[in-house]
């Protein structure tokens, strides 16, 4: 007996489909349902009420935390895109030896293997009032007093995000840059294109899949952040998810679920917009 090709594919993808359906899709549907439930201190009551959403969307704190997360996401996206693109371009087109390229790439990647929590708190002795950076500045007589804004501030949050997530930009962009034929760049140069024109008219359009993928990864990481803001802002700002987890700890599941639904819709719309720019599937599964 021979199975038709699509049936073979179905068999091959069935474990993946099963796990994602049971442990991702179904729980997602579940919290969407729960977000309409009624609750009190004792338990949940199946219902269809909009109170959880009404409360969430009319609290000024919601708007504040979304604006602040979005601000972080945009700033971090811009910085990681600049760093990620330039580093990837350097590694792929300027470094001539494959060994040097691998070593440099590994150097960029190794900190990624250290726990994110540890990498976050690593900034505390570095940026603190008596931290390494302030002492270096005073040693060099650049500043007379320690800079106070370095730690437990928006600045510290952004620095930590960039430290954590730049590799997410370098990887996908480098992957799409390797697919560009260097002869194409040479042809552009021979035809008289300036460095800038080669960049804007050949390299950037041909690497837009990597740029989009990296942007999606960085954006969703920042929007879904749980502890960087909590740890590094010194309580000045909250993140969407850490506010949500406070509700979960208080066992207020329906409002937490409503807040989760709003966040998921928000992230989904942003990701869908970025995916419209490129056919990620075609590029990935080619």
């Amino acid at each position: 007996m021979r199975l038709p090709p699509y049936a073979v594919s179905w068999l091959q993808v069935s474990p993946l489909a099963l796990i994602l359906t049971v442990f991702f899709a179904a729980p997602t549907v579940l919290f969407v349902v729960v977000s309409f439930f009624d609750y009190d201190r004792i338990g949940l009551y199946p219902a269809f009420i909009l109170d959880n959403y009404r409360e969430l969307l009319t609290t000024p704190a919601t708007l504040r935390v979304y604006v602040s997360s979005l601000k972080f996401a945009v700033i971090v996206w811009a910085i990681t895109l600049f760093l990620g693109f330039n580093i990837a371009y350097f590694l792929i087109f300027h470094v001539r030896s494959a060994v040097v390229r691998t070593v440099l790439f590994l150097l960029c990647a190794i900190p990624f293997w250290t726990s994110g929590i540890i990498r976050t708190i690593a900034w505390i002795p570095f940026l603190g009032r008596n931290g390494a950076f302030n002492q270096l500045l005073m040693e060099l007589h650049i500043t007379a007093q320690p800079l106070e804004f370095l730690l437990f501030s928006d600045f510290a949050v952004i620095i930590t995000y960039v430290h954590l997530f730049t590799l997410l930009m370098v990887g996908p962009i480098a992957n799409s840059l390797t697919k560009i034929d260097p002869l194409l760049l040479e042809a552009a140069r021979d035809a008289g294109a300036s460095r800038w024109r080669t960049m804007t008219e050949i390299v950037i359009p041909l690497s837009k899949t990597g740029i989009a993928l990296g942007s999606i990864l960085v954006f969703t990481q920042v929007m879904g952040d749980y502890f960087v803001v909590k740890q590094m802002s010194g309580g000045q700002s909250a993140s969407i998810v850490s506010a949500l987890s406070t509700e979960i700890q208080a066992m207020q599941y329906p409002p937490a679920a409503a807040s989760a639904v709003v966040l998921v819709v928000f992230v989904a719309v942003m990701v869908a917009a970025m995916m419209r720019l490129v056919d990620v599937r075609k590029e990935l599964a080619r």
Binding site: F24, I87, L107, C108, P111, F126, T220, G224, L244, L284
Partner: protein, 282 residues
């Protein structure tokens, strides 16, 4: 002399443009930025017994490392480390098996392939804590006990499987299908093609997926925190420590975990190189 210099630069192939130096400086600055704070915590983990979490160093010692191993004193770092490693091994074995199979399945379009692809994308970009929240809620509704090897394992798989699938796409893109066709023409069965052609050729990529999944799982916090039940993994234990104490012990844990990562990377690179060498010789 002058003539020779001009000849060198006009042939152009070895001359570096100014952008090379600009980008090389950018990369150097980035690497300093990347490693600076890490070096600070590696140093501070050797802080003397009377020292604190910032400079200056008050002598050097290994007391903070001993602190980790003292059972009961420091939460239970060795125990939770063991749990994390066991869970990570299980997660990455499952990830390799499932995502390699799925990657092969995705080589042709099949009814539902688009839907499954976007399900995987959604699972990857979903804020992690929400996945854990959904699963924990489900277990609660069904009256099941959340546990490390049930709900936490499932929560981690929703993160490592899409990663494994997309990594498999990249691995398969570089695979020349004519090898498979040749094997087929020579009368190899489907299993023989898999065992003697596909898997050996894709092996370095498969090892990469294993290591990737291992580190993703080993470090996972947000998906695990609501689904782990009563027994903590290492990241959960570290997180609990951050809120309760400030001593260089945290930095010692950081130094140790980095050392573990380095060993893992070193060993896996060694294995991949060994495979490549053997292949070159063959």
């Amino acid at each position: 002399m002058v003539v020779r210099l001009q000849a060198r630069s006009s042939d152009g192939s070895r001359a570096r443009p100014w952008t090379f130096y600009a980008l090389a400086s950018l990369l150097t600055a980035f690497l300093i930025f990347l490693y600076g704070p890490m070096l600070v915590i590696y140093l501070l983990s050797f802080q003397g017994p009377n020292g604190g979490v910032t400079f200056p160093m008050v002598g050097t010692s290994l007391v903070w490392f001993e602190d980790i191993l003292k059972r009961g004193q420091m939460a239970n770092i060795p125990v939770s480390f063991g749990r994390s490693i066991t869970l990570a091994m299980l997660v990455s074995l499952l990830t390799v098996a499932i995502s390699v199979a799925a990657g092969l399945g995705f080589r042709r379009r099949f009814p539902g392939s688009g839907g499954l692809f976007y399900l995987a994308v959604a699972s990857l970009v979903m804020p992690s804590l929400l996945v854990g929240f959904g699963i924990a809620l489900g277990f609660q509704v069904l009256g099941w006990q959340a546990g490390l090897f049930t709900s936490a394992l499932a929560a981690q798989l929703t993160w490592t499987l899409p990663f494994g699938l997309f990594a498999m796409f990249a691995v398969i893109n570089r695979f020349d299908r004519s090898y498979e066709e040749a094997a087929s023409d020579l009368g190899a069965s489907a299993w023989q093609r898999l065992a003697y052609v596909l898997v050996p050729i894709l092996l370095p990529g498969i090892i990469g997926i294993f290591i990737g999944a291992l580190t993703l799982s080993y470090d996972e916090y947000a998906r695990t925190t609501l689904t782990a039940g009563s027994r903590n993994t290492l990241p959960l234990e570290i997180y609990a420590l951050i809120s309760s104490s400030t001593s260089p012990t945290l930095f010692a844990i950081g130094t140790l975990t980095t050392a573990v990562s380095f060993i893992t990377i070193g060993v896996s690179l060694g294995v991949v190189r060994h495979i490549q060498r053997r292949r070159l010789r063959a």
